[in-house]
Amino acid sequence: MTGIIFDVKEFALNDGAGIRTTVFFKGCPLRCAWCHNPEGLDPKPELYVKQNGCLECGLCRRPCSHPECQRFGRCLHVCPKNLVTVKGEEVAAADLAARLLRGSDLLRASGGGVTLSGGEPLLQADFACELLDLLNGKVHRAIETSGYATAETFRKVVSRCEFVYMDLKLADPEEHRKWTGVSNEKILANAAWLKQSGIPHTFRTPLIPNIVGTPENLAAIAEIVGADPWEQLPNNALAPAKYKSVGRVWRL
C-alpha cells in the first residue's frame, strides 16, 4: 500500500542510536501550538513556499498546464530557485523500504537504523506496519510518536519497533486539550501499556516555556514516567519560521 511522507533525512543525529535515516510521515491528529514541523500537520500534500531568496519574478503565479499544479494555484515547475515545492509525496511501502535500505550496511554497522517520525506515524498505521515489516531483520527500527491512537493501533505499530520515543506533553487533560487540541486520555493509557510492554523506550517532553515547562506539569509528568528513561527537550526557538511557508499562523 501507499502512504504520504514529507521528508527523508539521512544522517539524522538526534533520532536514536547510531547512524539513522528518519522518515517523516505526513499528517498529525494533534495541533500543538508549538509544533516545529507545521508541514507535517495536514495529511494531504500541500504547497510549501520557501521564503528565503524569492526573486519576486512572478513566474510561479502564471497559469500553467501541468495537471499536478492546478490544485495549488502555483506552478511547481518553473521557480528559478526551486522555492515553490509540495510537501507530501505518495510512496509505496515497498519502494520506500528499498530506498531506506540502500545504505543499510552502514546503518547496521553503526548500530543505527531507521526512525519513523512526522507528523504522526500512527495516523498511517497500516502503511507504517507494512514498512516496518519490510525493514524487519534488516535494520534497527525506531519510532517517534505522540502516542495518540487507539490502544490497538498503538500496540500493533510500536510492537514492530526496537525502540520507541514517546512524547508526554501535558499531564492535565484540560491543559492538554487546550494546547494540543486533543485530550490526553488515549496517550496516558498507551504510555501505561508501553511502560510494562518490555519494549525499550524513552519518554520525551518539550520544554515550552510557561506551558509545558512549568514546575507543576513537569512534576506531574515525572510521576507518570516513574523510573523510565525521560528526556526533556529544549524549546525550539526556530519553530515559528516554517509557518509562513505552509500558510499557517504561529499562535504563541
Binding site: 539524522a12 535515516t21 528565503n52 515547475h77 518553473v78 526556530l238
Partner: protein, 657 residues
Amino acid sequence: MNQELYQYYIIDRVHRGLRSDWKEDLAGAYSALGLSPEERMVRRFEAACAKETPVIHPLEQIAMRRTLRKLPDVLTEQEWADVRKDHYVHELGYVSNLSPDYEKTIAEGLLARRESVTSSQKRIIDAIIGLCDRYRDEAVRMGRDDLVSVFTQVPRYGARNFREALQFFRILHFALWLEGDYHNTVGRFDQYMYPYFQKDMEAGLYTKETALELVEDFFLSFNKDSDLYVGVQQGDNGQSMVLSGKLADGSEGFNELSELCLLASRNLKLIDPKINLRVNKNTPLKLYEKGTELTKVGLGFPQYSNDDIVIEGLTKLGYDYADAVNYVVAACWEFIIPGVGNDIANIGAVNFPKLVDEVLRAYLPTGGDFAGLLQAVKAAIQTECDRQTATIQNVWFLPSPFMDLLRDAKKYNNFGLHGCGIASAADALAAVKEYVFDKKAVTPERLFAALDTDWANDPELLHLLRYEAPKMGRNDDRADNMGAFILGTFADALDGKKNDLGGVWRAGTGTAMYYLWHARDLGATADGRRAGEPFGTNFSPNLFTEIPGPLSDIQSFTKQDLSRTINGGPLTLEFAAGIFNRPESIGKVAMLIKHFVERGGHQLQLNAVNLDAMKDAQKHPERYQQLVVRIWGWSAYFVELDRDFQNHVMARQEYAV
C-alpha cells in the same frame, strides 16, 4: 603550545617585519656572464645563504626563518621567452610538487652526502653548512646551549635524536624553498621520523606533553615563511604531511608520533602542515574518530586517502608495488612517490562539461541514438586527450641540484591530467538521456534555444534540468553511471600513451582552480547549470544539486572504478561545525568515513564549515547546497532553511566551541 611563540609568529607576525628585499638584477648579470642555468641556480643559492640573517626567537626549539623576501629570478624575461619558444614550461619553470627523501640525508648528514655528489651539489651543501654555522654562532651569542649543540651536529652529521632530526628537516625544507623549488611536500613524516622519536621516548627524554610541545614548535615552523610561498592563492603552498597507512610489510603505519601530529594540528589550528591520513579497509574506527576530532576544528583536515584503491591504481599505472605502497599526497591531492618520483601530477586539465556541450551541439541534430551520443563523447574525450598530450612535449625545468640531492632517482616521470567538472558533465548526459532520448519530452532545438539564452526564454526547462533531472550526489544510478562512463573513457583515452620523458599519463578527478577557470567562459549546460556558474570542486556534486544527505553523496561517488583515475581529487563533504559539538557525532562521522573507504572511495575531504561560509551562503546559496547545519533536534541543509533559521544558527555559531 607556547603562547608567546604563537603570538610572535602568528598573531603579531613580528618576524615578517624583519625581512629585507633582495633587489638585484641577478638574471641580467648571469646572462652577461653567459652562465648555464645550473650555474645560475647554484650561484643564487650561495648568494641567498650568504645574505640570509640568522635570527632565533629566545623560546623556539626549532630555528630558521626566511629573512629575505622574494628571490630574484635567474633568467631574464627574454631568456624565458626563448625557452618557451621551444619547450613546454610547467607553471613557473622551477620544479614543484615533489616529495623529497629527507630520511637518508637526516640519517647520514651533509658531509657524508658530499662524498658522492656533483660539484654543484657540493657547493649547495657548503652554502647550507655556512648558513647553519652562522645560526650556531647566533645561538652561542644568545647563550642557547641547546641550539648550539643541535647546530654543531646537524646538518654536518646525521641526527642523533628527535630534536636534531626535526631541526635537520627544517634546514632541508628551508633550503628547498631557498633553491626556488616550490610546493615542497613533507611526505610520510610519522614514518621516517619515528625511529628518532621512539628512541628518545624510550630513553625518557620526553613526556607525551613535552614531545607534543616540540612537535608543535616544529609545526609552527611551516607557518613562519609560508606567506612567501604563494600558489594560486595564499595557503596554496604544498606543505602536505601524510600520516599512517599501509607499510611495505603489510602492517599499519599509525604510531604514537602520528597521534602527536594529529594533536598538534588540533591545538595549533594552523593551515600548515596540511594533514593527510592514509586509511584502508583494515583501519580501526578509533583512527577515524581521531581524524574527526581534527575535522571538528574546521581546518578541512585531515584529508583521507584509501590505500586499497590508490595502491592498486598506481600499480596498474606501472609503479612498483614497493613504491606504490609508500605513496604520499602532493600539494593538494595528487598521489606521488617520495624519493624516486619525478611526476608532474598537475600538468593539465580536461574540461568535461565543455566537451559534452560541444558533442551535444554537433550530435543531437543528426538524429542519432543515445549509444551513438556516447560514442561521440568518447571520441571527443579521446581527441582532447590526444591534443593535450601532443601539446605537452619537450618539458623544460630549471635545474634543481639540491632537490636532486634529495632524490635517489627520477624513476617515475608520469604526467597527470585533472578531470574537471565530472559531475556536471555526467548530469548533462543523464538529463539528455532522460528527457531528449527516453521520454522525448525535450527536443534538441528547445534545449539549444534555452542554452543559448542562458535559460531566459525557457525557465521551465531550467527547472526541469536543474532540479528534477538525475544528479550525481543523489545516489541515482542514471547520473552515477554516466560519471563512471566519463571516468572510464578518460582512463581509456590516456591508456598506453607515453609522454616525452618516457612516462605514462594519469587520469584524475581533481579540478584545482579549473572549477572556476573552465566554467567562467562556458555558457549554460544541459545539467541546468547557468552560464559561467562554477563546477563543483574535484569529485563532488554540482553546487546546486539538492543532496538528500551524506549517505547518498558517498554512494554516488563510490560506484565508479576509481583505481583507474588515480591522479587524485576527493569527494568533499561539508558539515557545519555545530554538529560536532555532541560527543557522539564524532563516532557517527567516523563511521561515515569508514563506510566511504569500505565502499571503495579513493579520497575524501570533510569540512566543518564556519560562520564566514554561512554568511557567504546567504549571498550565494547556490554554492553551498551541501552545507549541513544542526538546528535543535535535527540537522538540515543550510540553504533549505528560511532566513530566520539561518540567522539563528549563525548567531549560535558564534558561541560554538
